[in-house]
């Protein structure tokens, strides 16, 4: 009897995946983009990365000491710090980068209950906090390597852009967003390791391309669409931040819906908004809608709902 029936309490399906393992995989996947950012923008980029990572890890550790519950070993603070650094321009004053890290961990994550309870992606919330607080420093992409506008701003102003440079990453922008190739390598690592799947990034990017094609004013011009795809934080956002486990919907239908919403919002921000970029605001708005999306797409339990058979 005991061989046939195994009585145990739930959860019945267990996975070997650990928070630590997933976070380490994300860090490894972010390394190509980080490396390219340091190569592209110089040693100061490394300094910005180290500052944000140190500030997020330190904040998490200190909060852990205060709460007498150590959570810093799950590596999530490192991921937040790294993602935040990749979203900052290289010329940002270091104290602002550190302040962003503190805000991400303390206000967005820990005050809401720590990892798993935050309703917003901490790195993106910190980026938006910095963007609203210090608009001039956050949109100053002048550095030793490049001066002038980002490719997306140039595209919006009607100037021509070099697509090859944009795909390789030899352009102005935030530290981690410029190189499409490096980001795609990281994305492939995450997909092969099974950390993320293509539901959200796929529906996000396809929706955005359709939107840009219809409303962008250039029709389905391949050069224009390629520039929209490679420019700005779309790749970084779609593969690394929209797929954040905590702030994405858990239902499969909901994930498609979420991706479509992000695509439409990014399109609206980029094409009709005053700025050239809109990925971070789109994802934050999407994060806020996640509870509603989950409620809408909640699957019916077995035996519930459906039509009753009439006699």
């Amino acid at each position: 009897m005991s061989e046939l029936l195994k009585v145990s309490s739930n959860p019945h399906i267990r996975s070997k995946a650990t928070t630590n393992g997933i976070m380490t995989a994300v860090i490894i996947a972010l390394l190509p983009a980080t490396g390219f950012g340091i190569y592209n923008f110089g040693i100061r980029a490394l300094l910005v990365v180290l500052t944000t990572v140190a500030s997020t890890v330190l904040t998490e550790a200190l909060f852990g000491l205060y709460k007498k519950k150590t959570t810093v070993t799950d590596m999530s603070a490192v991921v937040t710090g790294l993602l935040l650094a990749l979203n900052l321009p290289v010329s940002i004053p270091l104290w602002m980068a550190a302040l962003g890290g503190v805000f991400a961990i303390l206000v967005v994550k820990m005050l809401f209950g720590g990892l798993g309870q935050n309703f917003m992606n901490p790195a993106l919330a910190a980026r938006c906090f910095l963007l609203i607080s210090f608009p001039s420093q956050m949109t100053n992409f002048d550095c030793d390597a490049y001066t002038g506008a980002t490719p997306l701003a140039a595209l919006k102003a009607g100037e021509s852009v070099n697509i090859t440079d944009m795909i390789v990453g030899h352009t102005a922008g935030t530290i981690g967003e410029t190189s499409m190739i490096a980001l795609l390598i990281g994305a492939c690592i995450l997909i092969l390791l099974g950390v993320i799947d293509l539901r959200i990034p796929g529906s996000y990017i396809v929706t955005f391309l359709l939107f840009a094609g219809i409303f962008g004013g250039h029709g389905f011009d391949p050069a224009y669409l390629a520039a929209q795809l490679a420019g700005g934080g779309l790749m970084l956002g779609a593969f690394f931040m929209a797929t954040d486990y905590v702030t994405r919907p858990i239902t499969i239908k909901g994930q498609y819906l979420y991706g479509i919403f992000l695509g439409v919002m990014t399109g609206i921000f980029r094409i009709f908004g005053p700025g050239a970029e809109g990925v971070s605001y789109a994802i934050i708005l999407g994060n806020l809608l996640v509870p509603l999306i989950e409620k809408l797409t909640r699957p019916t339990a077995f035996g519930k709902g459906g039509k009753r058979h009439e006699k």
Partner: protein, 239 residues
């Protein structure tokens, strides 16, 4: 404690309208972009609150229960109109800075709340001081929020530069999200101090309700401590 000081203490600390009762959030969040705006809004509201409380209390026996809300609104609106005309005449700068939020004092929850819960049942003098206490509590809260937001968001307090020149203002604090951050932090701080005081046995609300630490024979059913009395549990266990 005399009735007057008790009312003032109640409004300023024990039932501070902003940090404890969480009333009047609309002006609290909207106009506290600087300390001077917070102070102006607070004092304007305090004046309306004290006067309307007193008049409502004077007329409390002739206002029929059924139409009391329209009657309150008429009294409050009259005072708001008077105050607005005075501001326009004598402090036009403050009037411009506060804008539409001055006429909106009419619908401020604190004023209607005090009229409903206190002035309608109590004599004029305590009602006046209830209004003064609540108004000053509101003023202190708004000035604190405004000062913190101005300090972080612009580097000044009441327009005086207090931060070194190298300080870069954190712009978000004078925008709407900053109001929520600062209000939440100050409320948390206030709760922290209060809890600390309670732990040290200095909880004033206990003495005011005439607590003799004997919850079994106490008639105060509103006391939160009643259900946490460790002595009572022990007695039950012995039985």
């Amino acid at each position: 404690m005399s009735k007057v000081t008790e009312r003032l203490y109640n409004g300023l600390v024990k039932e501070n309208p902003t940090f404890v009762l969480m009333l009047g959030m609309c002006p609290t969040l909207a106009v506290t972009t600087s300390a001077i705006n917070g102070l102006g809004m607070g004092l304007t509201t305090a004046a309306v609150l004290a006067l309307s409380n007193m008049i409502i209390s004077v007329f409390r026996k002739i206002i029929p229960n059924r139409v009391r809300i329209p009657a309150f609104i008429v009294i409050i609106a009259s005072f708001v109109t008077v105050i607005q005309l005075l501001l326009e005449a004598y402090i036009p700068a403050l009037n411009d800075a506060l804008g539409v939020y001055i006429p909106l004092i009419v619908v401020n929850c604190i004023i209607l709340g005090r009229a409903e819960s206190y002035a309608y049942f109590n004599p004029p003098i305590p009602s006046l001081f209830d209004g003064v206490g609540m108004g000053l509590g509101f003023t202190v809260a708004l000035t604190c929020i405004g000062a913190v937001r101005e300090l972080l968001g612009a580097g000044t307090i009441f327009g005086f530069g207090v931060m070194p020149d190298s300080y870069t203002p954190i712009g978000i604090f004078v925008l709407a999200p900053g109001a929520f951050f600062v209000l939440a932090c100050l409320t948390a701080l206030q709760n922290y101090i209060k809890l600390k005081g309670e732990k040290a046995g200095k909880d004033r609300s206990r003495f005011q309700s005439g607590c003799n630490e004997d919850c079994m024979n106490c008639s105060d059913s509103g006391c939160a401590r009643r259900f946490y009395d460790t002595g009572a549990e022990k007695k039950e266990g012995e039985n």
